[in-house]
Amino acid sequence: MGILTKYRFFLFFVGLLLANIMPNHAKTIHVGRGQAIIQIRKAIALAKHGDTILVNSGIYKEGNIIIDKAVHLVGKDYPILDGELKYEILSIKSDGVSVKGFRIQNSGRTTMSDPGAIKVYDVKNVSIEKNILINNYFGIYLQYAEKCIIKNNVISASQKEENQSGNGIHCWKSDSLQIIGNKIEGHRDGIYFEFVTHSVIWRNIAKNNLRYGLHFMFSHNNAYITNLFKHNGAGVAVMFTKKVVMMNNTFEENWGDAAYGVLFKELSDCYLSGNRFIKNTTGIFFDGSNRIVAERNLFQGNGWGMRMQANCMDNSISHNNFMGNTFDVTTNGSLTLNQFFENYWDKYEGYDLDKDKIGDVPYHPLSLYAVIVEKNPPAMLLYRSFMISLLDKSEKILPSLTPENFVDNKPRMSPYNL
């Protein structure tokens, strides 16, 4: 008695310590054939806040599984969740849920409710990691989500028509997302954002999607870093957005009548650096875009390197490499309110007497034919005609029709090492 009284406080603290260290309430529930529980739904019903549900491999056809508790759903050896082309498969309706290591396939297809393989409703701190999503309508669908992580998922679909296909990663009215290392193929849009802010999109690959690799609207203050957008039906189109940073992305082989490496419509205050625009019909198309800084980008092998409509203002295009494009730059008007300086143009024919690596003669990147085509698109039918080459040459020597101030006064003599 005396001892107990003596050490009473000590014991109390030990008890308190143990209670904190040992997860006295968070337990692991095993699901699968041969286990006590064979249904994921049942496991979720039994689980408490913070529990882990470990799902063993096998095929689970349970219709729509609603996760309304903060549980960690973990798949072992990629168990298959099948929606039988009828159901939305996982609906996350609680904060703090994580889903990891599943193969989720065959979600329902209906444009009424837009079912997704994983749909996140109005919650925070959800993480979706290392899943394989095959043949779904929407892949991962977030609405009113905050602080979520979507990482290292492989998402693919194989619909032929745009209207039969949803988007790979679709986010609506969300904030502070991290979308990292996902691979999206064959959906309508690879990554689709509307009203998504303060998010980072890093190291994703979106290729062979039916419409756009990346498509966003009204999504301010996001950063796109080291992503690859390749061979998508219409390239990348981004609209009505402010303060976007795009660094080190590759936009490649978006080739077709209406395909663009990137289409910027009404974007402002953006920063583009270190991006590579390779073999697109149009590298960048600027329409109504203001105060964009584009530096140290590579434009190579495009039909049009950059098309800047005359409704663009105060953009600064500098220190870029323009190489092997059919037309480096075009515009559709005579008013130029943008700056081009210290770019490398492979078509530049000037010289550098003072050896400061800057050409002594200004370069007019706009060719006569480019202007003609912009004003009169059918004239493209005369492409590679000898007459056109003659006209172009004489215009280069004595510019008369191309806008006077569309000029790079400090063209670089040699390409930047980008």
Partner: protein
């Protein structure tokens, strides 16, 4: 007819200019493909060379050749041979040698460097161009006895098709830019064999996506399966009609 054809072919071979022409084409093509870093660009360069030099060479060489062989023709006429046979043999001999030179000169590098379907198109179209301009040469050389006039006409026709025509088309583009002229324009460009050939080859290349709406209209009318039949028929007409006219003239001409 075969005998005459043989004489003509041998004569042209002895001339050595055709061989030089083949070598020149080969040099152009090999260096174009060798200098450009990718085959598509090389092909565009080769395309430019073909569209300029092949018609020029065909039309000039054939015109002068026909004038030079006037004595040979007269000699043949003193024999019991039909007039049309002589003219046809002459035309076939010249066309065949121009086509052979083209296929040897440009065809081999094309097949080596370019995709086979593009190469095939370029070779077919180039061969047709050779024949067409030989036919045009026949027409202009039969119209007048005056050598200078005949050669002058040939050069003028070449200038018209290679340069002037595109200028006219461009002019029309601007004059009628307010109207939906796409279909008219497509039809118009089919009126020049050089333009038709150029666009047929361009449609096979990646750049076709840049041709926009008009390109699509063109592709629908001249690039589809039936369109191809139509465009080759058109090109064949370009060869046959001038030759037929010259043949009619030759049959009744007092030499």
């Amino acid at each position: 007819m075969m005998r005459i054809l043989k004489y003509v072919a041998l004569d042209i071979l002895k001339n050595k200019i055709i061989i030089a022409y083949a070598i020149m084409l080969a040099l152009f093509s090999w260096s174009a493909f060798g200098l450009e870093d990718n085959a598509a660009k090389g092909l565009l360069t080769v395309l430019n060379i073909i569209l300029l030099t092949v018609p020029l060479m065909s039309v000039l060489f054939a015109t002068i050749y026909v004038y030079n062989s006037s004595e040979f023709i007269e000699l043949l006429l003193s024999h019991p041979i039909k007039r049309s046979k002589i003219w046809k043999a002459l035309f076939t001999g010249l066309s065949l040698s121009m086509v052979a030179a083209y296929v040897f000169g440009a065809g081999i590098p094309l097949f080596i460097f370019a995709q086979w379907n593009i190469a095939l198109m370029t070779i077919t179209v180039g061969s047709l161009l050779s024949v067409i301009f030989v036919a045009i040469a026949f027409l202009s050389s039969i119209i007048t006895r005056d050598k200078a006039k005949g050669i002058g006409t040939s050069i003028m026709l070449w200038l018209y098709f290679a340069l002037l025509f595109d200028g006219l088309v461009l002019f029309l583009f601007f004059q009628f830019s307010d109207y939906p002229i796409e279909k008219a324009v497509v039809f118009l460009s089919a009126l020049s064999p050089i333009d038709l050939s150029r666009i047929l080859i361009l449609l096979k290349l990646d750049v076709s996506a840049m041709l926009g709406y008009t390109g699509a209209v063109f592709k629908n009318s001249f690039g589809s399966d039936w369109g191809l039949v139509l465009s080759f028929t058109l090109l064949a007409f370009w060869a046959l009609v001038p030759f037929y006219l010259s043949l009619r003239k030759f049959k009744s001409k007092d030499l």
